[in-house]
Symmetry: C2
Subunit: 325 residues, 2 copies
């Protein structure tokens, strides 16, 4: 693992790809790898890109990669793809994107699938971003599909969040409903050559007008990713937001939030999963569920009880032997 | 609270609406209300309805309500709407649906918004469904917007899950990507009067063919919610799936999963939130975050440490006084 970590640090791409697979699979040693990565802070700018299916996120990401490359920056793309645990890889098979980029050593592309445990995707993403940071890319783009809670969670790891929409389809309002609006630092109306682009833009500006004044005003940009239209302006907006974050102290706050999010994910695994495992082994979980089914208990009371038992069992049993000695 | 609970149990709709607001707001006494509800198991059939924005879920829900009413069944609709914490109620203002139903005492309609704490929506939904169950509706429909992790979580509370698609738009594949495919008990191709409905249906059937054989084979139905086409067949499919669940023992398993999901949510709040609160109060969280920022710690180690401190502090400090006495 130490050798693998050293290779990642020196910029070895196959080593990075292998390490990501180990982390995704929770393979032995992957925890040490991630721990080492957290202790080697990187300097990558992390840009999150989210939006509903069909707005052309994939083409836009490709366009941004081209734009950043033309500025001489190295780029990693992490596509978070909560794909079906059942069909798994087969559906990912259509990810033939970035083919033209595979020969460029300054571009790295990787899909993260949930592999059957959707709940762990957010944590895995934080770990993988930290690993990628060690490899020293100038920019890391994190792309999510869909617009639910997991997407909002994943975006916690980004410095700058692009929210992508397309004209028509009532997207502006739908995006709002999914709780994505607040997290946008830059709004992109992609497929701006379609009818309705100006209306979508105007709707967004109107919604932005309703925000409390002060701080960063998210720009609303129009792009046509397939032709490259608007991409230089978009790269400029990303840069402007990053500069704003650095000068306002917001960057430090976002990095801190990212660590807090990771900490929370690990605490959840450490504690909740452990309590459920212990309660399952002792038969207590079975008794709880039977009582709940019979209407003789409620989840709040049961959770309190399980939590107390866990605290008592784990710390005081450890204390007792030392008292005897 | 006891009086309020008694009113809900007797079928008082304004009382139910008030109780839901209390639970949503986490108002004083709402925990007792929810606890009482868990101890009064209902017999409602819970049907989840999910799908991407734009497939016509709202019209379909209205159509299903009409259909169930014509069968003499009482129906509650809970629309889970993770709306923007910023714009909040304003966006919900467009929910003028079910207007024609407000005079029917056997129909109850309620939107649940996240009110700024998206993470708690899943837990609140479980609590609200339990409250609604006390009111004795024959059917409770839970509708979610979007297709992310929160939707999958909410669907854990349903006995039967309808996954709704519409023709064109590449929905079939997009639905798959969001991890919704596996949880579908019945698939509905709505807007079936549009071109491409048969192709979407065929795509779904093909994907279903890839599933391991045995058990329930989800039917794929075509509907036109706005005209009522296909709705009697849909009501029949819901009934057939419920009968299958009862006869196969699957119903018991789903109810159990629902309680397990609630328990997990409460444990998370009970333990993770408490650890973070305690660590924040003692200044330990601040030290952890500073160490993480400096690359001198990693979230896995920090979480282990915080968890041990929590166990030691809460249980052994309780033990010490009793030993002294």
């Amino acid at each position: 693992m130490e050798a693998l970590f050293e290779m990642i640090r020196r910029g070895d791409r196959p080593a990075l790809a292998r390490a990501i697979s180990l982390v995704e699979d929770g393979a032995p040693g992957s925890r040490e790898l991630v721990q080492a990565a957290y202790r080697t802070p990187g300097n990558s700018r992390i840009v999150g890109i989210t939006g509903a299916p069909g707005v052309g996120k994939s083409s836009l990401v490709d366009g941004i990669v081209n734009e950043l490359r033309s500025m001489g920056r190295s780029v990693a793309v992490i596509a978070v793809d909560p794909s079906s645990p059942f069909t798994g890889g087969a559906i990912l098979g259509d990810r033939v994107r970035m083919k033209h980029r595979t020969t460029d050593p300054h571009v790295f592309f990787r899909s993260l699938a949930s592999r059957g445990h959707l709940g762990g995707l957010t944590r895995a993403t934080g770990d993988v971003l930290t690993l990628v940071g060690v490899a020293g890319f100038d920019d890391v783009l994190v792309e999510t599909v869909g617009a639910g809670q997991s997407e909002v969670d994943v975006m916690k790891y980004a410095n700058t969040v692009l929210v992508v929409l397309s004209p028509g389809l009532g997207d502006a309002v739908q995006t709002l409903k999914a709780g994505i609006f607040e997290i946008g630092d830059v709004f992109v109306v992609n497929k701006a050559d379609l009818a309705g682009a100006d209306r979508t833009r105007a709707e967004l500006e109107m919604m932005l007008d309703m925000r409390p004044p002060g701080g960063w005003r998210p720009p609303v940009l129009k792009t046509v990713a397939t032709t490259g239209e608007g991409l230089p302006e978009l790269a400029g907006a990303i840069e402007a937001h990053y500069e704003y974050l650095k000068s306002s102290g917001g960057l430090k706050a976002r990095v801190r939030n990212r660590f807090l999010a990771s900490l929370e994910e690990y605490l959840k695994r450490e504690m909740v999963d452990e309590v459920l495992r212990a309660a399952s082994a002792s038969g207590e979980l079975e008794r709880c569920l039977a009582a709940l089914e019979a209407g003789k208990d409620d989840p709040a009371s049961a959770a309190s009880r399980l939590a107390s038992q866990y605290r008592a069992a784990s710390s005081c049993s450890a204390l007792v032997p030392s008292e005897r000695s």
